[in-house]
Structure formats: structure tokens, C-alpha cells
């Protein structure tokens, strides 16, 4: 019987402790609130727990505010710049995407995936010529997209 009572109080206390924050914030329903208040009247340790949490919230509320001279106002200039930056980013991503696809095509070409077997028109060094061609192509695309983005960014400024 004694264990049963102890058990009951333990459950009641842990339930109360879970609800203390909601109680402090005024987010408990009427019924739960009156049950909790009844328990707080009879249980010293839960009352102490409640008081310490209450003090914590009150300390947080007393914290002074920070201030800054920045106004965060929006003007046409920074709105346009932000939109421009976003457009450039989209353009750059598209250019990189195209470069990757072309690079894959070139690598496929390098591995003779697109060449009919038996094509010996380039002689014994055909793989070297194709490789150099593909590499140059990839470098040119990457450079071209980078220059394009750079020029557009300068023009926006």
C-alpha cells in the first residue's frame, strides 16, 4: 500500500514537472491548471521546482535589449543587386550544367563510344588527338562561362 502511494506521488510529480513550463506560459487548460495548482499546494519539491523555473523565466525577461545603428531598410539599389545576383547565380549554374553535359559527351567520344568501330582514318594516334580535342573543349567551355558571368556581374555594378 505504501509503495502504491509512493508510486502514485511519483507519477503525479513527474506529470506536474512536465507541465510546469506550459503552466508558467499560461498554455494549460482550466482543468489541468487547477489539478496542477492542487498538486503544487501539497508537494514541496514540485513547488521548489516551479519557483526555480519561474525565476529562470523572470531572469530571461529582465535581460536588456541590444541596439544597432543599422536600419535594415530596403532600397531600390540593394533589391536590384540581390535580384541581379540571383539571376547571375542561375545563369552560372546553367553554364556549369551545360559544361558538365558537354564534358560527358567529350569523355564518351574519347572512349570511342560515338565512333563506329574500325574507324582508322586518324591513324595510330587518333586517341591522342581526340583526347586533346576533348580536353581543350572542356577548358574552353569552363573559361567561357566564367568570363560571361564576370562580365555580366561587372555590367550590373
Amino acid at each position: 500500500m505504501k509503495t502504491g502511494v509512493k508510486c502514485f506521488y511519483k507519477t503525479e510529480c513527474s506529470k506536474t514537472r512536465e507541465q510546469l513550463t506550459s503552466y508558467i506560459d499560461g498554455e494549460l487548460g482550466d482543468k489541468e491548471q487547477s489539478q496542477l495548482e492542487l498538486h503544487l499546494e501539497s508537494c514541496r519539491s514540485c513547488r521548489e521546482e516551479y519557483n526555480s523555473l519561474r525565476q529562470t523565466v523572470s531572469l530571461l525577461q529582465q535581460m536588456p535589449e541590444v541596439s544597432s545603428e543599422r536600419t535594415f531598410r530596403i532600397d531600390e539599389k540593394n533589391v536590384a543587386q540581390k535580384t541581379g545576383d540571383r539571376n547571375l547565380l542561375v545563369l552560372y549554374r546553367a553554364a556549369v550544367g551545360v559544361a558538365i553535359i558537354l564534358a560527358l559527351v567529350c569523355i564518351g567520344d574519347f572512349g570511342h563510344l560515338f565512333t563506329p568501330s574500325g574507324d582508322t582514318s586518324l591513324g595510330g594516334y587518333s586517341w591522342l588527338i581526340r583526347g586533346a580535342e576533348s580536353g581543350l573543349f572542356v577548358v574552353l567551355i569552363a573559361l567561357g562561362s566564367r568570363i560571361l558571368v564576370h562580365l555580366l556581374r561587372r555590367r550590373k555594378r
Binding site: 498554455e27 523555473l53 531572469l59 536588456p64 543599422r70 533589391v79
Partner: protein, 183 residues
């Protein structure tokens, strides 16, 4: 400014009025800055986060479908704080002490010994020691004055999760402050 005036300003902003939007910024400037500062513990970063947040709010104002503007802007600020937090590889440190950048009117509060400077800094430090989500829940509740329903919308989680995050956050904060002899 009452709610009707605010609704008018939001509508005008959605139609492209920068000036109306700037009035909204002026209204929530202090609150957004304080939330970002308490989340990050660093004033220059908090200022940058607020600038980014207000710019993206302007760009997505047309998507605002009514409800609490305060909760909506706090959601954008908290997302910007999360991005900054990730950029810093999950480190939140107090690089600017709170007492260095207080409101001029707050000085009297400190001088009157309502809160000592040490206590103010200990509280800010304790907040930064909380796990990110618990910290955000506590800050939105205490400094953003949002209810559980609004916090759940800002944090994209059920209201029960908000309850447990707040409960665990507050208990942890209490323990940290008790260990630092602030309570």
C-alpha cells in the same frame, strides 16, 4: 500601429511599395535583431542575418497569405540564423558581450543592480549552451512573445514537440544558471 494599419502596409508592400515595407521593418527591427543576437551571440553576425532576412522577406512578401506577420518574419529570421549557424559549422560563441551593445536606456537597469553585468553575460552564455532547437523555442517564447501554436509554425513541428523543447530547454537553462550561481 494597430493590426489594421499593419494589414494595409502588408497589402501595399505586396503591391510593390518599398516605403510601406520599410515601415514594417521599422516596427519589427528591434525584435528581429534581438532574436538573432540571442541565437548567435554576436552582434555583427546578427545584423547581417537581419539584413538578409529582411531582403528575403521583401522578395517573398507576395507569398504571405495572412495570419501573424510577426510569426512569419520570425520564421524567416530563424531560418537565416540556422543558415548562419550551419555556415559556422554549428559553433555558437559569444564574441560580442551583451553589455557592449546594450540599448542606452538599459544601462540604468544595470546600474540599478536589477541585473549585474556578470549576470547578463552569464544568461547570454547559458542560452548559447542550449541545443539549437531548444534555444530557438525558448527565445521565440520569451523574446518573440509567440504562443505555442505560432512557435510550432515557425519551427515546422507539432505543438507537442514545442512543449517538450521548451520544457527541456528551460530545465537545462535553470541548471546552467544554478551552476553559475545566477539563481
Amino acid at each position: 500601429m494597430n493590426d489594421i494599419e499593419e494589414a494595409k502596409l502588408i497589402k501595399l508592400s505586396q503591391q510593390g511599395s518599398v516605403e510601406s515595407f520599410n515601415t514594417l521593418i521599422e516596427r519589427y527591427r528591434k525584435e528581429t535583431l534581438n532574436i538573432a543576437f540571442r541565437m548567435l551571440g554576436n552582434l555583427p553576425d546578427a545584423e547581417d542575418v537581419c539584413q538578409t532576412a529582411w531582403l528575403s522577406a521583401w522578395q517573398s512578401i507576395k507569398k504571405f497569405r495572412g495570419g501573424s506577420f510577426r510569426a512569419w518574419i520570425f520564421c524567416i529570421v530563424s531560418n537565416a540564423c540556422r543558415d548562419e549557424f550551419r555556415k559556422r559549422k554549428r559553433k555558437r560563441t559569444m564574441e560580442t558581450t551583451l553589455t557592449d551593445c546594450l540599448e542606452p536606456s538599459a544601462d540604468c537597469c544595470i546600474d540599478d543592480m536589477v541585473l549585474t553585468r556578470e549576470k547578463v553575460e552569464a544568461v547570454q552564455k547559458a542560452l548559447l549552451q542550449l541545443p539549437y532547437k531548444q534555444c530557438l523555442a525558448v527565445i521565440l517564447r520569451v523574446y518573440g512573445d509567440l504562443n505555442y501554436e505560432e512557435i510550432s509554425r515557425v519551427m515546422h513541428c507539432p505543438s507537442g514537440t514545442v512543449k517538450s523543447r521548451l520544457n527541456r530547454g528551460l530545465h537545462r537553462l535553470r541548471d546552467l544558471l544554478q551552476n553559475g550561481k545566477c539563481l
